[in-house]
């Protein structure tokens, strides 16, 4: 009796274990069973309802997405894992942070090419003309000046400035009206680099081939008037007290609050702030204009949502990974992303929702009027020495170095990084 009870218990346990080991989820008819490892920045792991979209695809195909959030140094961690062959199938990131030809599977853009806006397709194309990324379902971004329209109106400014001289005059009026003209969040150093990103957009006006020349090191940033005049202007703003006095300890969240509350007039940021500020204070009227230039010619660029989604060259589940990434960019998924995270439409068949912030409509108009250029950050092959650049911004804004020093050291840091990476010409 005792032995038969034990035998029955063991048999039951064995049956339960074998059922638990089955990899086919209930309710699916597919043979599926593959696991795709998707390394994602932890801040984006829940963007636009991504977990729900993953669950829907898993139920449809029987395959599984193993989402692995990475908190810090995303590109370094993913690169190290790719180099070690430790199972990353899908990852994101700008081309200059990786070795695309060695680590990324070449993608045939035919299935999505016709759906993409030309700006979006440009940003997915590597410098060798090939595509190594699927577009992301989240919208694209641009960089420029976002401002509180009420503060501008109260200071007597009726049209946004186009030239650096107009910008200076506008800032003087805002300061006289008792508000901070330009808010900078130096504590969160990455925010300072959004000014750099906006400056990059102005460079092709001076020379359409500027990025090819910078990539071959046949021209330097210090040779570009559009580059040096921007930093001369910024150093001047700091000297004249147009920037918040606590910029070294001010935070990103603080900057959004200062603009939405009307304590400060404007800041230079990426267009993702619009959705965040709308949630913070829906009634705040936020406008946008491109970073002014000396000549007054305005143009913006678009950023391909951080470089798109790549499939690792060594992935053993490339077919399933491609199927998942294709699923993510179907119109229903893209529209859903746009509703929760408004931004520049990357797809022709997923336009801006009607309730999108007004400033985004302004941005989209610039793109439709062809007043846009290739995104500098995406076109520059040299991995940006971000930390050095942040330190240089802080030193210049504090008046410890001049704009000329800034430009020289910025250029130097980029060239040294290019040499360290073994890029030809450096």
């Amino acid at each position: 009796m005792k032995y038969s009870t034990i035998a029955a218990a063991l048999t039951t346990a064995a049956l339960l274990l074998s059922a638990g080991c089955s990899s086919t989820p209930a309710g699916t008819a597919s043979t599926g069973g593959k696991t795709i490892v998707y390394a994602i920045a932890s801040s984006q792991a829940k963007y636009g309802g991504l977990p729900e979209k993953i669950a829907a695809w898993e139920a449809k195909t029987g395959n599984k997405i193993k989402l692995e959030p990475i908190a810090d140094n995303y590109e370094s961690v993913v690169s190290a894992r790719l180099a070690g062959g430790s199972g990353v199938d899908i990852f994101a990131g700008a081309y200059d942070k990786f070795d695309p030809e060695a680590t990324m599977l070449e993608i045939d853009p035919a299935p999505f090419k016709s759906r993409l806006t030309s700006a979006s397709l440009e940003t997915l194309t590597f410098t060798n003309g090939k595509v190594y990324a699927y577009p992301k379902p989240d919208p694209m971004y641009t960089f420029g000046v976002f401002y509180n329209q009420d503060v501008f109106t109260a200071a007597g400014i009726t049209t946004p400035p186009k030239t650096l001289a107009e910008m200076d005059a506008a800032m003087a009026k805002i300061k006289a009206a008792g508000k901070t003209p330009m808010y900078m969040a130096g504590k969160d150093g990455w925010t300072l680099l959004q000014h750099r990103n906006a400056v990059y957009y102005t460079l092709t006006q001076e020379d359409p081939k500027v990025w090819d020349k910078l990539n071959n090191n046949t021209i330097k940033f210090t040779d570009l008037k559009n580059f040096t005049t921007q930093y001369d202007a910024m150093a001047d703003w700091a000297k004249k007290g147009y920037i918040n006095s606590d910029f070294l300890t001010a935070t990103y969240e603080g900057s959004e609050k200062a603009i939405t509350d009307g304590d400060a007039a404007m800041f230079i940021q990426g267009s993702w702030v619009l959705g965040e500020m709308a949630k913070m204070k829906p009634e705040a009227k936020i406008g946008f204009f491109p970073l002014p230039t000396q000549s007054g010619n305005s143009q913006i660029g678009v950023s391909a949502q951080g470089g798109g989604n790549h499939i690792a060259k060594t992935s053993k589940v490339a077919k399933e990974a491609a199927d998942f990434l294709q699923y993510l960019i179907q119109p229903a998924q893209v529209t859903s992303f746009m509703e929760t995270l408004p931004g520049i439409p990357a797809f022709n068949d997923a336009p801006l929702p009607n309730n999108a912030p007004t400033a985004l409509k302004t941005v989209t108009e610039y793109i439709e009027k062809k007043q846009s250029t290739e995104d500098g950050d995406n076109r520059y092959r040299v991995p940006a020495p971000d930390q050095d650049q942040i330190a240089l911004y802080q030193e210049m804004l504090a008046g410890r170095i001049t704009a000329a020093d800034f430009s020289a050291k910025f250029t130097d840091a980029c060239i040294k990084n290019g040499a360290a990476q073994g890029l030809p010409g450096f």
Binding site: N73, A80, G189, T249, A391
Partner: protein, 296 residues
């Protein structure tokens, strides 16, 4: 008489017991250190699949191609390490002497002094970022007690940010020195102190002529270990100032972290080896000075 083989076996006991620890130490410490040193002589980056041997190139670049940043980092590291060691050791001795006296609530106070060590550096960084901000509680308190002229941008000033972090480090980790000194004070023979009392020695003479010489060994160990940890500081700087503003609080560890962030593995490894050599030299010098003084 035991046979030779049994004697040999008995004499080998220490090795048998040491072996597991040696194996683990070799795999997890010596091994990675050797790999790191090897990497420092290559042009390895996170992008490159085939690093090439470049000899002393990375070390030369450290001193010639960083715009003086490495010298700034070395200087800040030295200043930081010396200051935290002096502050923590002297403050630790003073607090330990106070806590050695008998009074009500002594044990609770001892626990309170030690408690900050148990918090993680991230928590401390977030906490002090709040306390030390320009409109934070510290400045508000200074204004309240009529010392408004002392208000500063504690973590945002190029001139004082490093010293602010020294203050935070000292507040958090002084308890460690207190514990060591308290234990040493417990070992001071009571009859020496009683004899000194009978000879009419006051508390200051008793401290300098009896207590301090007898606890000197523990104090120097605490000082040496504090200097070493000061030279390796990373987490507190990273969470409070991130090495900024500018380069004003950049130390060797944050320099290495920033190089790694740029994907320059070979270059960052060279900086790590430099840090190791630097700490070893400083430690040997201090240890040598202490031993020489002890022989005197």
């Amino acid at each position: 008489m035991a046979s030779p083989s049994r004697t040999t076996i008995r004499n080998s006991y220490p090795l048998y017991f040491l072996a597991p620890a040696l194996v683990i130490f070799t795999i997890f410490f010596i091994g990675p250190a050797i790999v790191g040193m090897q990497l420092s002589f290559t042009d390895a980056t996170v992008r490159s699949m085939n690093p090439k041997w470049v000899g002393w190139d990375n070390y030369i670049k450290l001193f010639t191609a960083t715009g003086g940043n490495i010298w700034n980092a070395i200087g800040n590291t030295l200043i930081y390490a010396v200051l935290v060691s002096v502050v923590k050791t002297s403050l630790g001795i003073a607090i330990a002497l106070f806590l050695y006296m008998k009074f009500k609530g002594r044990n609770a106070l001892r626990a309170l002094i030690y408690m900050p060590i148990m918090f993680s550096a991230v928590v401390i960084g977030i906490l002090f970022n709040y306390i030390l901000k320009p409109d934070g509680p510290l400045n508000a308190f200074l204004k309240l007690i009529g010392l408004g002229f002392l208000q500063q941008n504690w973590l945002g000033s190029f001139d004082i940010a490093l010293y602010s972090v020294v203050g935070v480090d000292s507040w958090v980790y002084v308890g460690w020195t207190v514990v060591i000194v308290l234990a040493a004070l417990g070992g001071v023979p009571k009859d020496c102190l009683e004899s000194a009392d009978m000879d009419g020695a006051g508390p200051i003479r008793k401290f300098f002529l009896i207590r301090l010489p007898l606890i000197w060994g523990s104090v120097t160990i605490a000082f040496l270990l504090t200097i070493i940890s000061g030279m390796k500081v990373f987490d507190l700087i990273y969470t409070t100032t991130g090495g900024g503003p500018g380069y004003s609080t950049q130390v060797i560890s944050t320099f290495i972290a920033k190089s790694l962030g740029s994907g320059l593995l070979g270059f960052a490894s060279a900086a790590s080896v430099l840090q190791f050599v630097f700490i070893s030299i400083i430690s040997m010098i201090i240890q040598g000075l202490i031993s020489w003084k002890a022989r005197d």
